[in-house]
Amino acid sequence: MYAVELKEVSKHFGSVTAVNRLSLRIADGEFFSLLGPSGCGKTTTLRLIAGFEMPSAGEIFIGGNEQGYLPANRRPVNTVFQHYALFPHMSVAQNVAFGLEMSGVPRREIQRRVGEALEMVHLSGLGNRKPGQLSGGQQQRVALARALVNRPKVLLLDEPLGALDLKLRKAMQVELKALQHQVGITFIYVTHDQEEALTMSDRIGVMHKGSLLQVGSPQEVYEAPQTRFVSDFIGDTNHLDGLVTGLANGEAAVQIRGAQQPVRALTVNGVRLGQQVTVAFRPEKVLLDRQAQPDGNTLAGRVVDVVYTGSSTTYLVRLQDGQQVMARQQNAAVSPQMRFQSGDLVTLSWPVHACKAFAE
């Protein structure tokens, strides 16, 4: 049995299709992230599960039960809203107690559980404050406590860290993940930050225009993207356009205009001979040198920009035909004669297994 299952769920707003025949199974206790660009339908999917919107088509199951048109207050899920949505006229403790009161838990037990929940998010002693008297990070914790105190089957989180600054955000990521481990509740986490999704999730679902493009572990999604969109959206990626001149053993030979020899790449989805394709590979897989490496792919180019970012340096290299490639090197691992400047002639090399050809 799955914690949450969506079967062919669609949602239309007038002529806009926000969610398009989306099917998804999320296991008990899983930390699942929905990742995608703005407007791809992440929030709508979450709202469909929570019961704030009703699907135009398809079925939603929570804990094996079909939800149908069940309203939000009768679904065993709780939500952490992007802007917290704390009740401003109630104290922190009253906010956290609200769900328990509504479900008729005895007063004594409410008091005990509210205390425990506030302790869990390190807010003991702030129970009498109003939400307006708390910092953004503290409000975030109250929102978490208010949802978790009800021990829902599933916790839905809509960009819960979106309003926090970078440093607090990183700290909360770690804390949130630890909390999820501790309570063992299924988390469905919406974000458009791919780094956040990669560091926190057991599995990631990448959405685009209302559809799920790929579902998999962070490694799978990062290392083995199935479409150009996924490869592009998750992490930095180089894309080179070329023509397929040979096919063998799941590899394609792709001729980049102006290059001396074709680039070899793993084929993903039905690449045909003579087709125009995109070759994709990560900047950190690319080695920069003054001469060609013995095996793998090599291309020659000229450095046009150098961006130093502390732990690593990113080089922008222009090829003969004008296409550009990013190469990222860890600064600690690089000897001084392997540092380059704008205008240097260099050779780019990267392994075939880290390179994919997508037909568009």
Binding site: N73, V77, H83
Partner: protein
């Protein structure tokens, strides 16, 4: 006169700037004078120790004494307060419900209802008064009074007056409450239902408390408008029923005395008090005065 005839043009510019800023501030001063001079005169002459309302003859509170001794004025005062109180109560409940319906629900004909709700604010009082008069006449509802005893006074307040006041106050309450609702984050209500509250619990525990400043503001506005109303009361009261403004009108027909000034000053004080209470009740909100002056 061209600027060239002034060799020290910078001095000229400075003076002209001073002049224009002086004339601007004096325009402001004049418009305030225009607004408040009559009121000031009214208040000052209510303390005049003479029958004359044009010649000052020393300070006295005798007209206030006469006012309090006039049973007709006292009765009118209680009538005013009673009509304002009851109509405010009814119109606050109905106006709030209308505001919630408009702001939170989508239903067929919503746009038409929306436009109709504002009609009493827009149409002239006199038109509304005549419509109500015809309505009470034709429908046979008439001007039957509600008889009751209040602090030893026998009041006879026509239902038609209360209904008339409710009719225009609903719109004002609805507008003020709606402005408040529109500012409210609708995800708060979603959060309540996410935390297992049904629609009623959501309304009582979340929507209503958050609307409260708007409701209080709307109620105070309704109370003030009701106290100040002359036209609608005059046309819907049948014969022999006086609220304070109607009573003042009746007194003026027999000649202006400083007693009228005293009554008017009393009404003015009431209205001012209500405005301050309402500003106080809605403190902490952004731009509270802006919404009050609908």
């Amino acid at each position: 006169m061209s600027a060239r005839s002034f060799p020290r043009s910078s001095t000229w510019a400075r003076w002209s700037a001073r002049l224009s800023s002086f004339s601007l501030s004096s325009y402001g001063f004049l418009s305030y004078l225009f607004l408040y001079l009559p009121i000031l005169i009214l208040v000052v002459f209510s303390f005049n120790d003479s029958r004359s309302v044009t010649q000052w003859a020393g300070f006295s509170t005798r007209w206030y004494g006469e006012m309090l001794a006039d049973d007709q004025v006292i009765l009118a005062l209680w009538n005013s307060l009673f009509v304002a109180g009851v109509s405010t109560l009814i119109s606050t409940v109905l106006g709030t419900l209308a505001a919630v319906a408009m702001e939170r629900y989508r239903f067929a004909g919503r746009l038409a209802v929306d436009a109709l709700l504002y009609l009493p604010i827009i149409i002239p009082d006199i038109a509304m008064a005549i419509m109500l008069l015809i309505f009470f006449n034709q429908s046979g509802l008439g001007f039957e009074p509600w008889r009751l005893e209040l602090f030893g006074l026998r009041l006879a307040v026509p239902y038609s007056v209360i209904i008339g006041h409710v009719a225009f106050n609903i719109s004002f309450v609805a507008v003020v409450v709606r402005a408040r609702l529109a500012q409210m984050d609708p995800t708060l209500e979603e959060a309540a239902s996410d935390l297992y509250a049904n629609s009623w619990q959501t309304f009582w525990r979340v929507t209503l408390p958050l609307m409260m400043p708007g409701i209080v503001g709307g109620a105070l506005l309704a109370f003030t408008l009701s106290l100040d109303d002359f036209v609608i009361t005059f046309f819907t009261s049948g014969a022999g029923f006086n609220t304070l403004p109607v009573r003042v009108f009746g007194m003026i027909k027999k000649g202006v005395t400083p007693k009228i000034n005293a009554v008017s000053t009393l009404m003015l004080a009431f209205s001012l008090l209500l405005v301050f209470v309402s500003l106080f009740a809605r403190r902490g909100e952004k731009n509270p005065a802006g919404e009050l002056g609908v």
